[in-house]
Amino acid sequence: MKPINEMKLSFLSRSSNEAFARAATASFLAQLDPTVDELADIKTAVSEAVTNCIVHAYKNTIGTIYITMTLYEGKNAPEARIKIRDKGCGIEDVKKAMEPMYTTCTTGERSGLGFAVMESFMDKLKVTSTPSKGTTVTMVKVIRSKGDE
């Protein structure tokens, strides 16, 4: 598939950057003229993935989070592919981590719904991880509002 446009972003795993990551990806996506709902879906999914990097991948440390966002023409409607990568602790059991309500956090303040939210708000979700090397989350959203009817 032919990319229309692409951007790369890297920033430190500070929680104040959660809002920055949402705003930056939403702003890049604006050129596809998404609906308010499509934009909110992507902002939510990005927020979940970036929070995972901060809370889990780089727990008790500060590392770099990398985002690559590529826009494609798509078959019937344009698509946005967002890759969010860290070089943190990695996930031992990805399948387990993706189960709704599963969390390693013991404070009771994390719902364990991050991946479930990404899955329900995006069209595709792929998670690859290597323990002590890092995790890559790839998500695709079809911008249907601009598709051929």
Binding site: S15, A19, T44, S47, G108, A116
Partner: protein
């Protein structure tokens, strides 16, 4: 300021302001929890009318406040949540922990 609290006797009304993510949820949590402990609250109302964006950290915020208010024998109410936020609340089963109300007075 991420949250504005109104307290009367053993009831807390918390008007949440702005986006709720892992970063902002911390400040909201700390202020609300301090008030719950101080007055041993029997009722907590979370008003979402000032919240445009929320990720699953908002669910964690609701879950955690439920546990705390429940430990004082109190109850939790959620009011003025947008359709989108309500969808996430139901997805996470928050309607089993809190009373999710559509129309509430905005103070």
């Amino acid at each position: 300021m991420a949250v504005k609290l109104s307290i009367s006797q053993d009831e807390i009304f918390a008007h949440l302001l702005g986006d709720i993510d892992h970063h902002t949820a911390k400040e909201m949590r700390e202020e609300i929890d301090a008030a719950i402990h101080r007055i041993q609250a029997k009722s907590l109302t979370l008003d979402f009318s000032g919240v445009e964006f929320m990720d699953s950290s908002g669910i964690g915020l609701v879950m955690g406040r439920y546990k705390l208010i429940n430990s004082y024998g109190g109850s939790l109410n959620i009011i003025n949540a947008s359709e989108r936020i309500k969808k996430m609340m139901y997805m996470a089963g928050m309607d089993k922990l809190a009373i999710i109300n559509d129309g509430g007075k905005v103070r």
